[in-house]
Amino acid sequence: MITTRNTVILLVILGLVAAGFIILRSTPEKQVRKQLDQLVESVDKEPGEPTMTTLTKIGAMGKLFADTCQVTVDRPPMEGEFSRKEVMDRINMARNYFSELHLRLHDVSILLPTDSRAKVLLTLRIHGIHDNEENIDTRELELILDRKDRKWMFSRVKVVEVLEQ
């Protein structure tokens, strides 16, 4: 029987379904954000990290980068096109240097100029511990992710020079 009460309940249920659909549906922006979270998770290192965890993280990290990646860093100066393996080696070097390493992303903005390209601007806070000494650094990053085979992969990493010596 159609009553006012039943109509209201139906509308509430429809509203909840619509809200759930909007919240849960996968958009390109959410997919890009997921890749950023994955990168942070893979680079993060707890003290005394087991070798198995390191290998799992390296494997996961490798899937985030394109075959070649354009890297531009101001300090120490580094610019060029690097293979996935070279990028991984450098990240691993940094991970090995620190006994503990944590990344935090702030003020992330994602632009989608085309269906297959995302431009990300963010602030990266790096907190690392080496020889019991705390190292804190902040950098602004400009990232390009390209979509290939329905997967977003980092194809360009640029450290923005905020302070030019």
Partner: protein, 152 residues
């Protein structure tokens, strides 16, 4: 006082406080030692957003510099303006060839930096803590558009 009036009052106070602490006096939690001893790690400060509304930053001003947004900022001191030449000789700062007295600097290492000219639309900023190796201290010229305000 009626409930309606009380709610309106709470809403007005909350909105005013939010606007004031977002656009006028932004609270800062200080992390890092680059401005020691003027600002201590773990300390608290405020960024006065309108500080440079009518006059540009000047020598000695402590400014907040933004990155991609406003959540994380750098605190640095302005030591040179556009057109000035900046250099370090054995830990001493020279601007336009003259040594600058810096009473706010307590720790000083033997920094050496060849002279360089500050580009138009920029200011040269350095932290007060010079007791760390130069390679580990963030300093240099910054675009004025990145300046969020003055630090109190």
């Amino acid at each position: 006082m009626s409930l309606k009036l009380r709610l309106i009052r709470i809403a007005v106070i909350s909105t005013t406080a939010w606007l004031f602490f977002s656009y006028v006096l932004v609270p800062l939690k200080i992390q890092g030692k680059s401005m020691e001893p003027t600002y201590h790690d773990g300390g608290f400060g405020f960024c006065w957003r309108q500080r440079f509304l009518f006059s540009p930053p000047d020598y000695g001003d402590v400014i907040a510099i933004r990155f991609s947004g406003r959540s994380v900022v750098l605190l640095k001191r302005v030591v040179a303006l556009a057109g000035d030449t900046v250099e370090f000789r054995r830990g001493s700062l020279y601007v336009n060839g003259r040594q600058v007295g810096e009473p706010y600097v307590k720790y000083r290492l033997d920094w050496n930096l060849p002279p360089r000219t500050v580009k138009p639309g920029r200011v040269y900023v350095i932290g007060d803590n010079r007791g760390v190796p130069m390679s580990r201290h963030h300093f240099g010229q910054v675009n004025m558009q990145r300046i969020l305000g003055g630090v109190l």
